[in-house]
């Protein structure tokens, strides 16, 4: 077991340190892993304090120069479900995050705390500080299992489309919310994530959400993931430790 662990760490180390600029399909250069794929490994964050220094300021979107990122337009809920969205959004106690439930995909990607990607040729792992959650994503060409039980983060399979890492996710439960307030979904949710490394060492992240039971059309969510400006590590976070918010939140009177 120790040997396997050491081999894995060596592999991870090679992946992290073996960056060699190479020409992309468009002629620009990207940091690459030893197998030639863009190197997504490392600590990443879309928003939050670790990105913006020791000021304590949380300024979502600060420093963003690119046009990549939300707006994604309003979530395309079926007309008869818009009232339910407004009702859920009016009472923060109903937010599964406030109830310390694990966030799903893609909401967890937009957390204020970082995530870490560990990349190997046949498997990519994403470790989330939010909820201390993880995803193990096989890159082996196999389809989703047919007997999935619903889960918070679903079942993921990865593949490379050129220089973009694409993850297909199904098998969700209906407990989590999508990005935004009140954005519930059904177990029919299907998410396709795209991680496109850029020459400036950012990742253009896009998650397309399809849910025929609640949406009239697919909905896209975009983020730019960045490395924090200094060494960071993924820390532990147990939301249930001392959650006093539920008894003090005051619902909005106007949904």
């Amino acid at each position: 077991m120790k040997l396997i662990h050491a081999t894995f760490l060596t592999l991870v180390s090679l992946t992290a340190n073996g960056q060699s600029p190479a020409t992309t399909e468009k002629g620009s250069t990207l940091p690459r892993s030893f197998d030639g794929k863009p190197d997504l490994s490392g600590i990443w964050q879309a928003f939050g304090v670790a990105l913006f220094g020791e000021t304590g300021e949380l300024r979502p979107g600060q420093g963003t120069k690119s046009s990549w990122g939300p707006p994604v337009g309003p979530a395309p809920y079926r007309k008869e479900l818009e009232g339910k969205v407004a009702e859920l959004a009016s009472d923060n106690r109903k937010d599964p995050n406030v109830r310390c439930k694990m966030a799903g995909v893609p909401r967890i990607t937009g957390s204020v705390v970082p995530l870490e990607i560990i990349q190997t040729p046949k498997k990519v792992a994403i470790l989330y500080e939010s909820g201390h959650a993880f995803r193990s994503i096989p890159v082996d060409g196999k389809p989703h299992p047919s007997d999935l039980d619903p889960s918070y983060l679903g079942h993921s399979i990865g593949r490379w489309e050129g220089d973009t890492f694409v993850v297909d996710v199904v098998g969700f439960n209906n407990i989590t919310w999508l990005p935004g307030a009140g954005h519930f979904h059904s177990e029919a949710l299907h998410v396709v994530e795209r991680y496109a490394l850029q020459p400036d060492s950012t990742i253009y992240y896009e998650a397309t959400m399809e849910d025929p039971e609640v949406f009239t059309k697919p909905w896209a969510y975009r983020l730019i993931l960045r490395h924090p400006p200094r060494d960071e590590r993924i820390m532990e976070s147990d939301c249930t430790e001392n959650n006093q918010d539920l008894e003090h939140i005051v619902p909005s009177t106007k949904p």
Partner: protein, 126 residues
């Protein structure tokens, strides 16, 4: 109308992400800023929020045990705090906003330490 809708959606997406755990406005009133000074009696260095309990006196001499909510430890660690930077019996001043439910709780924004050092405890109200 569509542009407004997209803009509102954007604000919605961003504003709900400002706090790691809950929406600021769900629990605190950004239009009711308050400042307290007093003695720290308890420090809960916990998730999803750090709480400081501060015995704060008013002009008539009445002492109130105010519970001050801050960021979780993971964020405070990244903004210059450590678990023992503040101790029970330290005298502090704290700015922030009042709770909406009328309890003796507040969202903490900035703490002034006994030596005059200032650190943010929680996010802005917007």
């Amino acid at each position: 109308m569509k542009r407004l809708s997209i803009a509102l959606s954007l604000v919605f997406l961003l504003s709900t992400r400002v706090l790691a755990h809950h929406s600021f406005a769900a629990e605190y009133d950004g239009k009711k800023p308050i400042s307290i000074s007093g003695i720290v009696t308890k420090i809960d260095w916990t998730n999803p929020h750090v709480y400081l309990t501060v015995d704060s006196g008013n002009e008539s001499g009445k002492v109130t045990a105010m519970v001050v909510e801050g960021h979780p430890p993971n964020i405070l660690r990244r903004t210059g705090w450590t678990r023992d930077i503040l101790k029970v019996n330290d005298a502090v001043s704290i700015t922030g906003w009042a709770s909406k439910d009328g309890s003796n709780r507040m969202a903490g924004r900035q703490v002034t330490f006994p030596d005059g050092k200032k650190l943010f405890l929680g996010p802005p109200s917007e």
